[in-house]
Symmetry: C2
Subunit: 555 residues, 2 copies
């Protein structure tokens, strides 16, 4: 009767220590979101399917978790759907009968073993059944005809009795499986009208459009909520995870980009994660490069190769570019990018020169230049700001600045944050010309980095500061009064719930990592006092029950 | 192309002000959970279906949101399912043909209009088709035979040509709908293996069993996460809402109950919601009453009527009890309960006398008595503690104490919290003999009460404390430096992102309810100063840019 419990793959239980550490990160991030004037919103975990579908590409659509309609969800399915299965079966059986029939007539004509039988039958059947089969198995209808024909011929022209059981059924099953594959998305719209949030960006766009009349633009919002993706679970890739986003919509001022760089710097500095690198690029610069070297189609191949410059050198990347079909002329034109070195300002000057003939590229250099020079003026606390023209994340999505944050050198971890500017996010929901820019923090990775570097505050695992030992009913009552007093002062404090053996109670205190154990036994009751054992330094001290503040002051 | 966006019924978007108010409640609750030694855990939003199904009764199962398997979810459906639809159609058409055939033979026998035709045909067909139809429409197979027969007779024995189109089809559709209803739960197990969390209690039990070797018992956990229910949405009833639970498992000490009463008192006092009533009962007392008055089956009717004592008096409740079939003898025996008045201690003495012959009842009185007398000793900050023997929430679930919290008098609102002790929660997952007790806070209702009584802190809607007006690039850069300084001191501060008209910038400041506006124009640049306008009290003051702390100290 009892089940051995488990949780779905790709999901996680979080222990108290893990929740506390995650909340520590969230709290630091939230604090800075707020001092930067961002306001929190929250959206429902599930949205109407049409809000999400088609917004993340085909692959994204596939990874969206769909929720089954509640109640009699099959009622909305077109009954024709159920009939089609049977029709597939009937058609395939018809074809098989036809093959048999034709074989008989070949036999009558004494042409039984005619090599032409197979070809002629095929030539006859394929056009004949094209329309009937095509709607069930688009593109490969002739495949089933050929298989049925082969089956018949290899069964010694139907002499083998088992053919229908062992030969025909698997083909029918396969054909039906193929038919179902084509039906899956159709039927999923009939039986599911809601889907779990895939990211926070599309729901945010939907929110802005729905609430546009209540909002003051520029609207700066932050949102920290879980999202769900039906990705194949892997180490470090989960089906449920938190996203943590800050976006501004309704302002195209580059001061927003400046501010987001500062925000990254403020958060990581506060997390004591010093030395992160904020990489900066601009979609317009990428477009400009493509334009100038004349390889618009191969931009991704180009940047992917360029990104390996440090590892494989100019020779290496030139070779890779050539292999990807990028012309020698293009590679030659792009040469200044291979020599892009030095300070951000030096790099800007090279880019400015390279892209002077591309209007869009020059605009990108101008934008990048504003951010860089303003930040030079304002300064950073602990992060580095670095131009990276290979940075292309979410290329189709971003229209201006592109950000990505790398963990400090020596920590091997992908990006721990990223973002950029998008010019028309709310357009999909009918609100045009609202520019937005935003960044996000990668909670799970930041967690791993802080753990690796030992940067979580020590007190984070101290879920209980004081435990009172329970010596019996009378002692417990007096202990409870002290516990009350300590809790009112904000101390995490507990009375062991039963008069268990001292050893058991002390073991519990040890396991929970409690720094102070309070003892109120018969003797203390008599003298109106309590004893505090210091579990870390050792030793103990006695206080008066009338002056618990003496202990509080020592905590 | 653009969609008019909406969100699923029963779900909500939360505006910044709403999120801040909700977080205010959560933060207060969390703070006290922690000082009481509770530790946070979090569990996945979706669980394996078998973890949830069957734990909440049939009605609960129906209200669980199921998640469609990702990928080709139809592949796991038995192909027989699809065939069955067609079989239903074939059987019904067979029956119809049979009716026609029999009508012809009646006609030949010149018995065309024989009144016996209908009865004889029915008598023949019903046993004939019993087995074939019953598997599709259990219980009502003969219903379709009668309908088809009536259809045929009323179409003037088949003379009306439209019968197949207008008569037969609706019957087929209805029969198929009925068939589908019987298939829904079967197929939902094939196409869905995960389901959204319905409450926090079952996932907690699953967590305890899965992680039993890592936990120190008694394990005190709190959990604040959303749950989902496919309930019909109503005013105040949502399909997604947060639950906020604290439970202790692994201790049967009544000190836990005492502590939970104190915890309620601490939280509501801190929320400034003074005068809530914590109602207390015990499942064993209810069982004892049922035993003593000899009406075990009518316990719910009895307590429902008893609850109306204050409204309709002894006469009224006696009448209602009689109407529900409770005997006069039982009502007479229960009479002491009708006179239950006065202090908790006085009521305990009446209960103790009434239940002295019921072992279980007497045990319940003893437990209640311990909690009441201990609380008399410890005292409450602002809540009232009141015995309420009519309190029966979740009767099947609780085995000992039952809690419920009512809003202060004058606020019309259902319970704002509740809980109780359960002796064997983890048994369903194979871990026996672990007693638990817990309480929960009703976030949405507490929110409404605080809103109604104006108890949210005033500063909660102040998402921005300082806004700097933007007078142009040079001024903006200097402003940004000041903004930086203020943010580092924890001030929620912003620079308007563009050099828009003064009027527009001031309107934004007003809309966002900003108390201080900072002006750094050409003149201030020249004199290295900044002007602060007090938007609440009026007036303005000038500070040196070298000493922003003078302003900070005035904030």
């Amino acid at each position: 009767m009892a089940q051995k419990p488990s949780i779905p793959k790709g999901t996680r239980d979080f222990s108290p220590s893990e929740v506390n550490k995650r909340n520590y990160i969230f709290d630091v991030v939230k604090k800075h979101f707020q001092t930067y004037g961002f306001q929190p919103i929250e959206t429902p975990s599930f949205e109407n399917s049409e809000t999400l579908m088609g917004k993340y590409g085909d692959e994204g659509d596939r990874l969206i978790f769909k929720i089954l309609n509640s109640g009699d969800f099959l009622n909305k399915v077109d009954p024709g759907f159920f009939k089609e299965y049977v029709q597939v079966e009937i058609i395939l059986k018809d074809i098989y009968s036809e093959i048999k029939l034709r074989a008989e007539s070949f036999k009558e004509l004494d042409d039984y073993s005619n090599r032409n039988f197979t070809q002629e039958t095929k030539d006859f059947l394929i056009p004949e059944y094209k329309d009937r089969l095509a709607s069930f198995s688009p593109g490969d209808y002739s495949y089933y005809i050929e298989r049925l024909l082969n089956l018949y011929v290899h069964s010694n022209f139907g002499d083998n009795e088992d053919i229908e059981t062992f030969g025909l059924l698997p083909i029918l099953k396969e054909a039906f499986g193929n038919f179902l594959k084509h039906q899956t998305s159709k039927i999923s719209f009939s039986i599911s009208e809601k889907a779990l949030r895939y990211d926070l960006t599309v729901p945010f766009a939907r929110y802005v459009v729905m609430h546009q009349n209540e909002l003051d633009f520029p609207f700066k919002r932050y949102q920290i909520q879980p999202v769900w993706r039906a990705d194949r679970p892997q180490k470090g890739r989960f089906r449920e995870f938190f996203q943590c986003d800050a976006d501004v919509v309704g302002s195209d001022s580059l001061l927003q980009e400046v501010e987001l760089v500062q925000l990254y710097d403020a958060v990581f500095t506060d997390l004591k994660l010093e030395g992160v690198t904020i990489k900066l690029n601009n979609r317009k610069i990428l477009a400009g490069i493509a334009e100038v070297i004349g390889e618009r189609d191969k931009l991704i191949d180009f940047t992917v190769a360029l990104d390996k410059l440090d590892k494989i050198g100019i020779e290496g990347i030139s070779k890779e570019m050539r292999e990807k079909g990028i012309s020698d002329a293009a590679i030659e034109k792009a040469a200044p990018l291979f020599a892009l070195r030095g300070s951000n300002l030096e790099q800007l000057s090279v880019l400015s020169d390279l892209l002077k003939d591309s209007e869009e590229g020059a605009k990108g250099v101008g934008e990048l230049s504003f951010i860089i020079t303003t930040m030079e003026e304002l300064g950073l606390q602990s992060a580095n700001l670095k131009i990276d023209v290979t940075l292309a994340r979410g290329l189709n999505y971003y229209t201006g600045a592109i950000f990505e944050v790398a963990a400090p050198e020596g920590v091997s971890m992908g990006s721990i944050g990223g973002g950029g500017r998008y010019d028309d996010l709310t357009g999909i929901f009918g609100l045009k010309d609202v520019s937005g820019v935003g960044i996000s923090f990668g909670l799970d990775r930041i967690y791993l980095v802080l753990e690796e570097l030992g940067l979580f505050p020590e007190a984070i695992d101290q879920s209980l500061q004081v435990l009172c030992v329970n010596f019996g009913d009378r002692e417990a009552l007096t202990s409870l009064k002290l516990v009350n007093r300590l809790r009112k002062a904000g101390v995490k404090c507990d009375l062991y719930p039963s008069n268990a053996k001292m050893q058991k109670q002390m073991k519990y205190a040890n396991n929970r990592n409690v720094p102070f154990v309070v003892l109120i036994g018969e003797q203390e009751l008599a003298s109106n006092s309590f004893v505090v054992k210091d579990m870390v330094k050792g030793g103990q001290e006695t206080y008066s029950l009338d002056k618990p503040e003496d202990f509080l002051n020592n905590l």
